[in-house]
Symmetry: C2
Subunit: 500 residues, 2 copies
């Protein structure tokens, strides 16, 4: 068998298993599905701290961070179990029959149903929370979709351990093993084969723009196109307005320096561009801001990046950025020597004019680096904001009195981002109903969707309408008696009542 | 100026106008938006029956049908006005701050916001309800999106009249004229230019598979891909089970003959494939079924199709289908001679074996034609159902006692369709909250979305999350005081209460 045939066989086996498990999974009750999610959480916990040590050995993220990430992973699974038990997510709608109307109005009942087998690509930067039993897997299983998980080659042992925990949970829940498969190995061929497989119904991905776009293009070129949720690059611009700068210069500089280097700068929401209005006066606060930011950067030791190739790419992008016209180095980690797979924190500075001149400065540098862009006015911020591509987040630091005059800047940013923050840093993504983690391209290939929070369940579902169906045919969520006690739109009115 | 440059200039002018109107439209209140939709409805009505006569002259659909279609068009606009006034569609979610938690939990508030300028392609077969002021335009304006409307070249005068009515309504609502543009003319170039224009944020289309796929591919190849809702081909298979056949043979045959030829067979939901279980016994009812269907077909006069090219295509597809192995003619309109732009009703018959052998028999024949496929068992229905592509609808005729044994057939159909009907005919699409008009490819390029009913507003919106925002920055739907009285998810719980 050639390597390519081997790849095709691996993809085919995983998707066929997933497809085979779909009917029994659909037939299972919501409680079984919720129980599965809870059980996966328990089995992940049951792996104990050995899991964290394995993940640390493969990612260098450190035990404190990985302990927190495990808690988030378990929390996500349990949150989706609650969503499934609650049941309202299916967006049930019932329009009652009106036989007296001309023509007679039929009985229509509609709910969201799972898409079928989906392919989830694990992220390198969250070996637990965005990997095997991470957010997309939890959301897909919650929706009722079998999952084929493309492991990230940077943490294979961690992936195998968690996959074993998932398999145990599936067996304990009495569900078919094919519901979840791990596809390991290196190279792009297997991922593309999974995306192109005719049984695949959707794809979720977190990673680079190049990787995400390749998967998007492959899915769009299928005979039958499918949804692709690829979360890709974002520079998460920060906008500091004059009065906020004057009032909180040192505090903001320190907070942004910390945020840009947190986890060796390997967060999707790392603030990579910081636009600051410096009116040029001595009292502007700009010097204090860059001083505080710079001293934070200088004080951070270089740290291990997720995998050697990533560290190499970071060094190259950083070097390229440093060479751009008008860019000067603001600060760099005091420790000049570090192993080649470490990332050395660095911050640069550039003027708005030079920033607007060099397109490469808008690109994400994945790692512990940030670029301060010095503007002279809020109008310049507007101009630069309008020039930016889509982003996961933008953050605004403004004194209360500055918000009203900044209305047009905010209106520009509202169109560019999935989440608009005030007064905080973009790292730290809450897992909750109101979170939106996504945004206009290239932040995501599908700005209608979030990858974090309970709304992520909608990625993996679609509406199905029953017309004049016998109650025996209807799913429980659509029967007259509201046995699940869910909120439903009954003749256009939200209610938990039974159909009278 | 070359023709191509002319096309590009037309597209650019329309999109730039739309973009220019977006900010003022977003700044307008929901009541203004609702009022605009009501006003469009009024202005369409104010065109009087002249509009219907113009539409009849261009489409041949006849005044009774066009009177009904105008009522639907007006009804859709008013329904979306209600949706906008109600306001709950924005899916507002508020997670309150918890400063005591470690780390502190931020205040998160999320709602759906309009995508921006969208391009809507009018359909030939609904010159009013799926054209200039049709469903997609109403849904897009309701969501807050400016609309560039690509008129269908088959009814230019109707389009211009309705566009004038829309322009009057926009002026009366005090909104910018650029909110709505009509792009006329012939040929594919202008449509592609609209889809490729960088300011276009989404595309809605109803028409052929070839046309829809070309637009989908063009959008997917953009530097910044955008959502495409292309509703395309569907054969709307009907499944008649043995007892239903025995009990209602003549009634079903007549109803399906009528449905297949209604509006000269030019509905997206026309039943093009009718699978009937005939156990071969004299009492099966099959003879009575095809007899009744055939006599309805034979009794229909040929009628004018929407445009000459369509009539030509219908004749060619019908001739091709008639030549396929095993296909026999069941009935044809008694009037053998008709002008070349008329469609002559026809029905054929084929066995399941021959149907499965010839892929061309699965393709939609747009016009007054249907193919009866004779099966020997419900198991054969399952096999044939599993072989079908995605569909807008499937219809099942089953006696009550047949439903439970047909469970696996129904499970197959649930995965293939957007709407599953029992005991009725698929033509006649209710405009209401629970309707789903869409389905797996090739019925639609996006099975997550409906083109009919109030849920269509979601095509043109995306989530935006505010973190720790001052109330002055928040849209009214997200402020503590629930001034709009909408349903919101507050800390995961549905309520119309204010935030305490």
């Amino acid at each position: 068998m050639t390597a390519l045939a081997g790849v095709a066989a691996v993809a085919d086996a995983a998707l066929c298993s997933a497809e085979g498990s779909f009917a029994p999974f659909r037939a299972a009750t919501a409680e079984t599905r919720a129980h599965l999610l809870d059980e996966i959480a328990e089995q992940v916990l049951a792996l104990g701290d050995d899991l964290l040590r394995a993940a640390d050995a493969e990612t260098g993220l450190g035990l404190p961070r990985l302990t927190g990430e495990r808690a988030r992973t378990v929390g996500q699974l349990k949150l989706f179990a609650q969503v499934v038990r609650d049941g309202t997510w299916v967006d049930a709608r019932i329009d009652r029959r009106d036989a007296a109307r001309t023509p007679p109005k039929p009985d229509l009942r509609r709910l969201l149903v799972p898409l079928g087998p989906v392919v989830v690509f694990a992220a390198s930067n969250f070996p637990l929370a965005f990997s095997v039993a991470g957010g997309d897997s939890a959301a897909a299983l919650a929706a009722g979709c079998p999952v084929v998980l493309r492991a990230h080659p940077a943490h294979p042992k961690t992936s195998e351990r968690v996959a074993a925990a998932v398999a145990t949970a599936i067996a304990r829940a009495g569900l078919p093993a094919g519901l979840f498969s791990l596809v390991g190995g290196d190279g792009h061929a297997v991922g593309l084969a999974l995306v192109r497989h005719p049984l695949t119904r959707a794809v979720a991905f977190t990673g680079s723009l190049r990787g995400g776009r390749a998967l998007f293009d492959a899915a769009a070129a299928r005979p039958e196109p499918i949804p692709v949720y690829a979360e890709m690059g974002s520079t998460n611009p920060v906008f500091v307005l004059p009065r906020a700068l004057a009032e909180r210069a040192a505090e903001l500089g320190a907070a942004l320096g910390d945020s840009a280097t947190l986890g060796t700068g390997q967060f999707c929401t790392k603030p990579g561009l910081i636009f600051v209005v410096d009116d040029g006066s001595a009292a502007s606060g700009f010097a204090a801001f860059v001083g505080a930011l710079g001293s934070r950067i200088a004080g951070k030791a270089p740290s291990l990046m997720l995998y050697p190739e990533l560290a190499g790419r970071f060094r190259e992008s950083a070097a390229e950025l440093a060479r751009a016209p008008g860019v000067t180095r603001l600060a760099e980690s005091g420790e000049a020597t570090a192993p080649p797979d470490f990332g050395r924190p660095v911050a640069w500075q550039v003027s708005v004019e030079d920033f607007l001149r060099t397109a490469a400065l808008r690109e994400e540098v994945f790692g512990p680096a940030t670029l301060v862009v010095r503007a002279r006015s809020v109008e310049e911020l507007e101009r630069v904001a309008a020039s930016l591509a889509g982003q996961l987040t933008a953050s605004v630091h403004a004194a209360p009195a500055e918000l009203a005059p900044a209305r047009s800047l905010l209106a520009i940013l509202e169109r560019k981002v999935g989440r608009l923050l005030f007064g905080g840093v973009p790292t730290g993504v809450e897992v909750s109903p109101a979170m939106n983690h996504g945004g206009p391209y290239p932040a995501s290939t599908d700005l209608r969707s979030t990858s974090v929070g309970t709304a992520a369940i909608h990625r993996f579902a679609r509406p199905l309408c029953y017309q004049d169906a016998d109650p025996s045919v209807l799913p429980p969520e659509l029967r007259d008696g509201n046995v699940r006690g869910i909120w439903r739109l009954l003749d256009g009115r939200f209610t938990r009542d039974d159909v009278a």
